[in-house]
Subunit: 240 residues, 5 copies
């Protein structure tokens, strides 16, 4: 019995990967640097993941929570884990993380193919939007503010209103929502790229008045920083 199925699926077997049936796995890692951080090894880890076909966005973070943000997207969870291991071995200590999958929301079934692809297979980071933030969120289930007790049409209407707010920031903000129900502590991860940090602030602030957020959203911790290549990110956090 002992793991017959599992044995066939091991990372060394080379036979099979573990990944979503559609879309990509997404791993956000928020790391602290240490004295022993090996700059070259960290840069190589990112390069190697990209060479294998994964997308990797790196950010210099502000505040005590972490120094270096790494967001990786790819079809095989083993490969994302491999990047995590390579970063840890380079001396970056993961202080927080988020595991999710790209997805097409149930309210977006009628989207044109191009927009569907942009959600399932986004191309990141977007050009000219170096201001970055990430936060996880869940829909509330509290008393009369229970999202999961609403019927589909109500939810769809609320989500459309929500989307309308988002469209006001077209050009200033690129938003990617990935799903994590059952995979991490919140139900979605929200990654925003903006031209300016106040674009991020303004966009999230405006959305908060939308009923879908005002009544039904619970937010986790927020991470903020600037997008740059890993070498530049490391420069900014390792030397003054």
């Amino acid at each position: 019995m002992e793991g017959v199925g599992a044995a066939r699926l091991g990372p060394s077997s080379g036979e099979r990967s573990v990944g979503p049936s559609v879309g990509l796995g997404v791993l956000h890692l928020f790391c602290r640097v240490a004295e022993s951080t090996d700059r070259e090894a960290a840069v190589r880890a990112v390069k190697s993941a990209r060479a294998a076909g994964d997308q990797v966005v790196t950010t210099s973070l502000l505040g005590h929570k972490a120094d270096v943000g790494v967001m990786a997207l790819g079809p095989d969870m083993w490969r994302l884990r491999s990047l995590q291991t390579a970063l840890r071995l380079s001396g970056l200590e993961p202080a927080a993380s988020y595991v999710s999958l790209t997805e097409l929301s149930e309210y977006a079934e009628e989207l044109p193919e191009e927009m569907r692809q942009a959600r399932l297979h986004p191309q990141l980071p977007p050009d000219g939007k170096p201001a970055f933030c990430f936060y996880p969120m869940s829909k509330r289930r509290v008393g009369s503010d229970n999202w999961y007790s609403l019927d589909f049409e109500e939810r769809k209407k609320l989500m459309l209103g929500h989307g309308t707010v988002g469209r006001l920031f077209r050009g200033r903000i690129l938003q990617l929502i990935t799903g994590s129900t059952g995979l991490d502590d919140y139900e979605w991860g929200v990654t925003l790229f903006g031209v300016h940090p106040d674009d991020l602030k303004e966009c999230v602030y405006q959305m908060r008045f939308d009923e879908a957020s005002a009544r039904f959203a619970d937010f986790g911790p927020f991470w903020t920083g600037m997008v740059a290549e890993m070498a530049d990110v490391l420069d900014s956090v390792l030397s003054a």
Copy 2:
């Protein structure tokens, strides 16, 4: 007086084990690796527990919370503790855990014997389902959403509806619910094995709309990874 009873029950006495009167004890351990982790010792710890008759499922985890997941099932809590000790001595540091027991829920009394056995004595891991997640949960006792104020028939009806959602994922998901009221911080532990990570996500997401979850479930932290043999798991987290 000093522990007369206790003295007879010590682990070295060999006279008696401590375990549930029906079913199995279940220990989930989520461990971080360190530089000093001894790969061989960790593999031996798992082998030794299996040799003693316990089931052990090992997983490579994604994210900062932990690197290696170990889920062990056996009739004697001393033996589960012994596995925990052996893993710690191998240099795996338990960062989180869950203690529970397999159980037949009070709503499942009429199940055929085979299904009863699958709950009390599951055979894990299932074949061909390498995507893994675990989370603890409790039933809510908040205002009018108080599960424990409902009568048995209401609860049974809600649980049957809940089970119907679960059955939609037959073949894609294997679910094991173990009981922990009085033993750990939540009332149940939920372990899911899926073909793909999006099976896990889809299943938990669909269930959230079910009234038993929408109104009455509180969830703890979620753990996600890939099932593999311990040697492969360690390879994936110790070397890039």
Copy 3:
């Protein structure tokens, strides 16, 4: 002024102890072992506390929260502190704790003298009940579920119903409730000894349906393990 009163009360003065006017002080310590843990010193610490007249129950714990549980009962808080210090010096690191006092609840004034003594001066551990759990709890003060807004008769009735559930487990469970309002983060500590771990689970689960728990109880973290003598407990957590 500087501590005139205090000066007379120091531990080295030998003049006076600090303890409850009735009943015993109770200290639960949940400790992690380290490489430097001195097995002999830890055993001596327990022996020395018992020689001084205190009761000490030791447990091997399951899960990451702690390895060794120590529950000590005695009339002098300085002596309980002395045990804590001796354990720390032996290399056991207290990861959690609970401070409480044995007490006769206000609803139990009419109990026969023998039962009063069993609550104020319990003899622990009980014979043949090696399955252990501990959790702290408070009564709720939330909206219409406010225990402290109920009058005495209502509370007494609810507590009697609660006790009825407890009596169903006579012989399988020994329960000790100690008071900690003003002393630690919850209002009571609940220590259970059971024949089997599923006795603990079943008992706490059944009580949760009782209105006193369903509507009015908030629970803290749960600790689970097996009662044994300190030498056996240390064996189980220090060597595989």
Copy 4:
């Protein structure tokens, strides 16, 4: 511009202190001992603060949260900080703390001068009350239990009832309530000195039924121990 005002206020300038316009600053520090703790230096730190005119109460604490409690009262926040620094340099590691100010509550304007002084300039520790506890608390602002939505007369009436309960413990308990709105995470700090630990428990328990607590109080962590001179406190936590 760069800190012109600030420059005049530095601790080395000797020109000005920073303290409340009436009453005293209060610093509660809860420290852990380490192997490197320098007993003499810690005793000197307390002696030096007293020599400068500050009051310092020291306690031996029970449980894992901390070993040594230090409560200091004085007119200059720089001097309180200086004590904190001296304690840290002696090898006591602050694990928790509370910053507050003595105050005359708005409901106590009509008190006789002696009682006003006892609140603004208390003399601590009281004689013969070695049992100590501390906890922070806030008034609730939840739904219909919103203290800050009550008018002054309602609040005053509730506080008077609250005080009546407190007076039942006169002689057994000395209570000092200090204000921390805007300064620390709760709105008040409550320091109790009792003859016996069950006096503390009984007093806080009785008050919990008072409407001002039952409906309107949120409590933070509780700290418990025994008052003694620093040398005795250190003895009790450094040697078994």
Copy 5:
């Protein structure tokens, strides 16, 4: 694709900064000192940030949460990150932080230009106000106390009332509110400078009765200390 946009934005490129389109970025860092803290390097870090044009306010903090507070304001987030890195390299360990932006609230559109500038481009620290506190806060979205479900006029009226309380403390308190929705865990950061610590306490206490706070404010942790030049701050926390 790999970060084409990002590559142009790196900190070493010198081509472009990342900052708000109006106002300033604000970074609050709350740091612990260690034995290895390099006093000169920490002073140089502040000097260097000021030389580059950023404002830096330094504070000596009370309590265990942190020793040294640094609040920096500037137009380029990369430069704020550079200060954080320089402080870390000097051996100050950031234990907490807050990231926000100066802003003109939507209720303050009609303010005279001078007051607008005081909010977007404050000159800190103010003269003669050495008592410091900082706390983050959010507006509530709970049941009927949902700030984001109110219409603009209601919110504006409530904010005006709130401002009226604040004006009572003119001369004793300088308040700066910076926005962090989408950037950090709360929606605003509140920085107060007072003549005396009880000015801070009195001001925040009075505001709590205002409906905008009483019903709609959720507060994060509070930080308290004294403003001084970095050299004096370090003196106060590094030597007794």
